[in-house]
């Protein structure tokens, strides 16, 4: 049996791609890749288009490679025919680049709602016509089924997307999401940008993960340029990334309980979340730490006062959080809602290479901070919690355990922060780079190709939600409609990060 590294060694390497190889593959090899993915031997990390080419990032245990297929005749053999997780990615590639995934089983567009004025907007000199046509949701057939359309404008303060439920009484028979409402054309805007401006755009893919996105883009750009950020910058980046994780997990734990009508947890978790944001503001001058991570390092350093602020934050969370965990664990009426609700099977989490708490609550332990890993996490001690129940309760517990782990990481970072510069100058040269970063909801992939003057030729950012949204549809089946908000919040997928 051939491993990914064997395959890479047999193919022709393309360009200067770092830190993992990128190789050109022919139709036979592309088919072989599809089979390996379908057999579950390899995982799909990403699939994106370019001008007359598609690229697949693939993971084989701890080996990563990008495989590029030349779309000479305007198309490529569909991977999703063999490996369902590629389906929406292929539909997006067709919408954005006009490249036809041959043999794809779902002919519908995905991001293109027929409102952009033209088709294939990422293709140079496209001239393609808009594809506007009625969108048909997947049917559900059976006695006394009824359909419930929800969105894109929802009842809460949340992002827009459309959910189509088919229900039998209260029980959901099928849920299908339709996304793309917040597609802003970020990847097109990035073309031709200098790295500074592109980093600003990367930090606005998904506001809740602005640090993680900026970090993913920065590391991909640094890999392309063949440079490394100063040591202190690595540690400050980890500090910000863990503060972001803390803020989001604390907010989510409360919000999930709130969707089970348990407002007390929401209130107390909201207080802790606000304290994290205020500490971030005091240290870095922005509550969400936006635009703080840049290619070459970080913008702001912290001083003794900042360190003191964060240490005080750790004390406060450690004092308050355990009683909230106890409250969650000991409230039977709340547990009644979360235990056994929205179960995601391990096999599906594995097949879709689901990252973050979605994967870890269903027995998939992948954590980009370990594999492939990036500094300074190799020097830090932390655990990656894994559970196997796959229900809402497990997704809450993963977050609880990750809050605890992030607290210890922040503490270690503060204790061992190396001195020195926080930013290095960027050379003006071309290259290709990729990075995989653990955001709070899972691994974010960034891929960038730079021209000789270090402007962006093409950048692709893949949100973890691409591989989590379809799983929500699977997990909700057989649950009651009233539990959808609870399940949805426990996944907390990004609309904006997905739609770009």
């Amino acid at each position: 049996m051939s491993t990914l590294l064997d395959l890479v060694s047999q193919c022709q390497a393309t360009g200067q791609h770092h830190p993992w190889p990128r190789v050109a593959v022919d139709a036979t090899t592309w088919q072989f890749v599809a089979e390996q993915l379908a057999a579950g031997r390899w995982s799909l990390l990403g699939l994106w288009g370019g001008n007359a080419a598609v690229h697949a990032a693939v993971l084989d245990s701890d080996a990563i490679a990008v495989l590029s297929y030349d779309c000479k005749d305007g198309g490529f053999p569909s991977l999703s025919r063999h490996h369902a997780p590629a389906l929406r990615l292929e539909r997006a590639i067709r919408d954005l680049f006009g490249l036809e995934p041959r043999g794809i089983e779902d002919p519908r567009p995905w991001l293109d709602h027929g409102r952009w004025g033209s088709g294939a907007p990422l293709l140079d000199n496209s001239g393609a016509r808009a594809r506007g046509r009625p969108y048909r949701f997947l049917p559900a057939e059976g006695e006394s089924l009824h359909e419930i359309p929800v969105g894109p404008v929802h009842a809460g303060i949340i992002e827009p997307g459309h959910f189509r439920f088919n229900a039998n009484g209260e029980t959901i028979v099928r849920l299908e999401a339709r996304l793309g409402y917040v597609h802003k054309g970020i990847e097109r805007l990035m073309v031709g940008c200098d790295l500074g401006h592109a980093a600003i755009l990367a930090g606005r893919c998904s506001g809740d993960s602005t640090v993680a996105y900026a970090l993913a883009f920065a590391r991909a750009a640094e890999a392309a340029l063949g440079i490394d950020a100063p040591a202190r910058a690595h540690w400050l980046r980890a500090l910000m990334a863990e503060l972001e994780r803390l803020a989001n997990h604390l907010g989510d734990i409360g919000a999930i309980c709130n969707d089970a009508a348990f407002a007390l947890m929401h209130t107390h978790c909201g207080i802790l979340r606000e304290r994290v944001l205020r500490a971030a503001d005091a240290c870095f001058g922005h509550r969400l730490m936006r635009d703080q991570v840049v290619p070459g390092g970080v913008v702001a350093d912290i001083d003794d006062r900042g360190e003191h602020t964060i240490r005080a934050l750790l004390v406060e969370i450690r004092r308050r959080f355990p009683s909230l965990v106890e409250l969650y664990d000991n409230t039977a009426s709340l547990q009644d809602r979360t235990v056994g609700t929205g179960v995601l099977k391990h096999e599906l989490a594995q097949q879709y290479a689901a990252g973050g708490y979605v994967g870890r609550a269903s027995g998939r332990s992948f954590d980009a901070r370990r594999t492939p890993g990036y500094p300074p996490y190799g020097d830090l001690e932390f655990a990656t919690p894994v559970l196997h129940e796959g229900d809402v309760n497990a997704r809450v517990w993963i977050r609880i355990r990750e809050v605890e782990q992030s607290l210890t990481i922040v503490e270690q970072v503060l204790g061992r922060l190396p001195s020195g510069a926080i930013r290095t100058d960027l050379p003006r040269r071309g290259g290709e780079g990729m990075a995989l970063i653990e955001g709070f909801r899972g691994d974010i992939l960034a891929w960038v190709s730079l021209a000789q003057d270090a402007t962006v030729l093409r950048c692709h950012l893949r949100d973890p939600s691409w591989f989590q949204w379809p799983l929500l549809e699977a997990a909700i089946e057989g649950n009651i409609v009233a539990d959808f908000p609870l399940c949805n919040k426990s996944f907390n997928c990004s609309y904006s990060g997905h739609d770009l």
Partner: protein, 174 residues
């Protein structure tokens, strides 16, 4: 749970009215907002939030308005689930072309008198996304806007300040 609830009763509230120097502006703002809101709308202002393509950063800070520190409801201002119950549409994002129709319909479903507040730099003119094939380029390109609140995202106290400005503007125009 009883212990937590009991502690909440005996601990001082977190809600900020404390007159420390750097917090004074917020406290002052809070008092003023309360007066005007009561005069105009009889203690109540209902807000419907519409995300028209934001990165979700603005949503995070709008959520924060409901936490114990800002406690927007103490002013009689609250978020509602339907535009039909709303006085104010709080719109975020550069308005993507894919959200245009939904925004127009939401606006049409909001009864008069109504006000539209565009929140965030990209809601003003597209911000970082200006020039994209996929956006309209700001809320006012699609529906009439009464107030623009800058920031990426605006801080919660800026959002409160903005709601106050809206109320004062309408009080003067009478």
């Amino acid at each position: 749970m009883r212990k937590l609830l009991f502690n909440s009763m005996i601990r001082a509230p977190l809600t900020e009215a404390a007159p420390r120097a750097d917090d004074a502006a917020l406290a002052e703002l809070a008092a003023a907002l309360e007066r005007v809101a009561r005069r105009r709308l009889g203690r109540s202002l209902a807000i419907r939030e519409v995300d028209a393509g934001s990165c979700n950063g603005c949503e995070l800070e709008i959520h924060a308005l409901n936490n114990a520190f800002y406690d927007l409801e103490r002013f009689g201002i609250r978020f509602v689930a339907s535009p039909r119950h709303a006085d104010v549409l709080l719109v975020t994002g550069p308005v993507t072309k894919n959200m245009r129709e939904a925004l127009v319909r939401t606006h049409a479903a909001t009864p008069d008198p109504k006000w539209v507040v565009a929140v965030g730099d990209c809601a003003i003119d597209g911000g970082a996304f200006a020039g994209s094939y996929a956006i309209e380029g700001g809320v006012s390109a699609v529906i009439p806007v009464d107030l623009h609140l800058r920031g990426c995202p605006p801080r919660p106290e800026q959002l409160i300040r903005g709601l106050l400005a809206l109320l004062e503007k309408n009080a003067r125009s009478e």
